[in-house]
Amino acid sequence: MMIHYRRIIRTGWYNFTRSGFTSIASILIMTITLFVMTSLIFVQAALNASLNDIKEKVDVTVYFLPGTEELAIKKVEDSLSKLPEIKSITYTSSVEALTNFKDKHGNDYLTLQALDELNSNPLGASLNVKANDPSQYESIANYFENDSALANGNLTIVDKVDYHQNKLVIDRLTSIIKGARSLGFIISLFLIIISIIITFNTIRLIIYMSKDEISVMKLVGAGSRYVQGPFIVSGVFVGICASLLAILIFIPISIWLGNNMTDFIGINLYQYYKSNFLQLFIIMLGSGVLLGGISSFFAISRYLRQK
C-alpha cells in the first residue's frame, strides 16, 4: 500500500515538474486567487480597525446638576458598572470639568471673564459611559429614564443625558458599521467564489488536455485511484507553490502600505502582516492545497466514470 502512495506522489511530482508552462500557468492563476483571498483579509482588517476607531469615538455622557455630592454620583457609577453592556465609565468632577472648560477656552477672554464674575462653579460633574457595542447606548440611556433602576430617587440629580442629542449620529453609525460589515462579507464571498471558479476551470482545462492519456492509462489496466492520484498530487504542488508565491508578493506590498498608507487605512498593514504571518501563511497554504487538490479531484472524476 505504501509503495502505491509513494508512486502516486513521485508521479505527481514528475507531472508537475515536467509540465513546464502548464504548471506555471496554473500556479499564476492560483496565486491570483490566493492574492484576492488574502487581500480581502487585509481589507477586513483595515475595515475592522476603522470601525473600532469609530466605535471608540461614540459615547454617552451623563451630566449631573451642579452641587451634586460626589458620593451620590459614585453610587450611580457603581450601579451603572453592574450593567453588562458597559465597557468603561470615566468620572469627571465639577472641578475637573471647570479646568477642562478653562483650558478649552484659554483664548476666549470674554467667556473666562463671565465665568469669574459668577464666583461659583456652574458646571456639574459628569460620567462618561462607553458601551461594548454602539447599539447598546439606547438601553443605557433608558436605564436613566427608568426610576426603579436608580435607588433613592437619584434621578433628580441628573441634569441631562446627551444620548438623545447624539441618537441620530449613533444610530447612523451603528447601521453604517453593520452595513459595511455585511457588504464587506458579501463582496469577499463573491470575489472568492469567482476566483475559485477560475482556478477550478484552469485545472479542468489542463486535465482535459490529458484526457487521452487518462484513457490510455485505463486501457493499460490502471485503477481509478492510480490514474487520479498523480493529478491530485500535481494540483497540491501547484497550490503549495502558489501560496509561497503569494506570501512573497505580500511582503513588499505590506511594507509599502505600512510606510505610506497607515494614516489613511488606520492600521499598519506591515505590522499586521508580521504579527499574523503564521495564521495568514496557514490560511494561504491550506487554501492553495485544498483548492488544487479538490479541483483536480473533481476535474478528473468525469473521465474516470467512463469505463
Partner: protein, 225 residues
C-alpha cells in the same frame, strides 16, 4: 479464448459490425483485414470494452466482457496488451517510465520493474533510448516502445490496431517480426492492418471484413479484397 457471438454494433443508423460470429483460440496469430470503415477498429474496441455491442455477446473465457464490473474490467485489461497506430504513449514520461507505468499499474514491486524493464527495452532494441521522452523518438521507435509496454506484463492477448500504419516498410517489418516472436512464445496476437505485403508474409489466419461483416476467414490466408 475470445468469442464473438452474433455481435452487431451500430452507430446511430450505421452498422460498424454486423452479426459477427468468430472465435479466437489461445496462441493464435489473427490478422483482421479490410477497407477503412470495414469495422476492424470497432472489433478491437469491443474486445477491450471501450465500446459496448448493440446486440450479441463478446466473451473472454466464457465471461461476457461487457458485463464485467469496473474492477474486473481493470483486471481483464491487465491480461491484454494494446498497440495503437498512433502509439498513445504517455508524453510526459520517458521510454523507461512508459513501460514501468504498466507494471506499476498492476502493483508490481520496484525490484520486478528494475529487473524486467531493461530486459524488454533490449528486446525491442531501445536500451540506448530508455530515458528519452516520446517526442524524442522516431515513429518506429515509438511503436516498438508501445509494443514493449504491451508485453511487459506478459499478457494473454496482444491487440495491435494498425501498428504499422504510420511506419516505413523497414520499421513495419521490424514491428511485425516482434509481434511474431511474441506469438511464438504463446501469446495470442490480434492484428488489424491494411498492409497486404505484411499479411501475406505472416502466413497465419486472416479474417476479412467488409461493411461490418466477415466475408472470409482462412487459416493460412492471404490479403484478398
Amino acid at each position: 479464448m475470445i468469442y464473438f457471438d452474433n455481435v452487431t454494433k451500430k452507430y446511430k443508423d450505421n452498422f460498424a459490425i454486423k452479426e459477427v460470429t468468430i472465435s479466437i483460440a489461445q496462441g493464435e496469430f489473427v490478422s483482421i483485414v479490410g477497407h477503412s470503415g470495414a469495422g476492424k477498429t470497432t472489433l478491437t474496441k469491443l474486445i477491450l470494452a471501450e465500446e459496448a455491442p448493440t446486440s450479441g455477446i463478446v466473451s473472454f473465457e466464457s465471461t461476457d466482457i461487457h458485463k464485467l464490473s469496473k474492477k474486473d474490467l481493470m483486471n481483464f485489461r491487465r491480461k491484454v496488451g494494446i498497440v495503437f497506430q498512433d502509439f498513445r504513449l504517455l508524453s510526459g514520461r520517458t521510454a523507461y517510465e512508459n513501460i514501468a507505468f504498466a507494471m506499476e499499474a498492476t502493483g508490481k514491486s520496484d525490484e520486478n520493474i528494475i529487473e524486467d524493464v531493461p530486459h524488454v527495452l533490449e528486446l525491442v532494441d531501445l536500451t540506448n533510448k530508455a530515458f528519452h521522452f516520446p517526442h524524442q523518438l522516431s515513429g518506429g521507435e515509438k511503436q516498438r516502445l508501445a509494443i514493449a509496454r504491451a508485453i511487459i506484463n506478459q499478457p494473454d492477448i496482444i491487440i495491435a490496431d494498425e501498428p504499422t500504419g504510420n511506419l516505413d516498410p523497414m520499421n513495419a517489418i521490424e514491428v511485425i517480426n516482434i509481434l511474431k516472436k511474441i506469438n511464438d512464445l504463446g501469446t495470442t496476437v490480434i492484428l488489424t492492418t491494411h498492409n497486404k505485403g505484411l499479411v501475406d508474409a505472416i502466413k497465419k489466419r486472416v479474417i476479412t471484413l467488409e461493411n461490418g461483416r466477415v466475408i472470409r476467414d482462412h487459416k493460412e490466408g492471404k490479403y484478398v479484397l
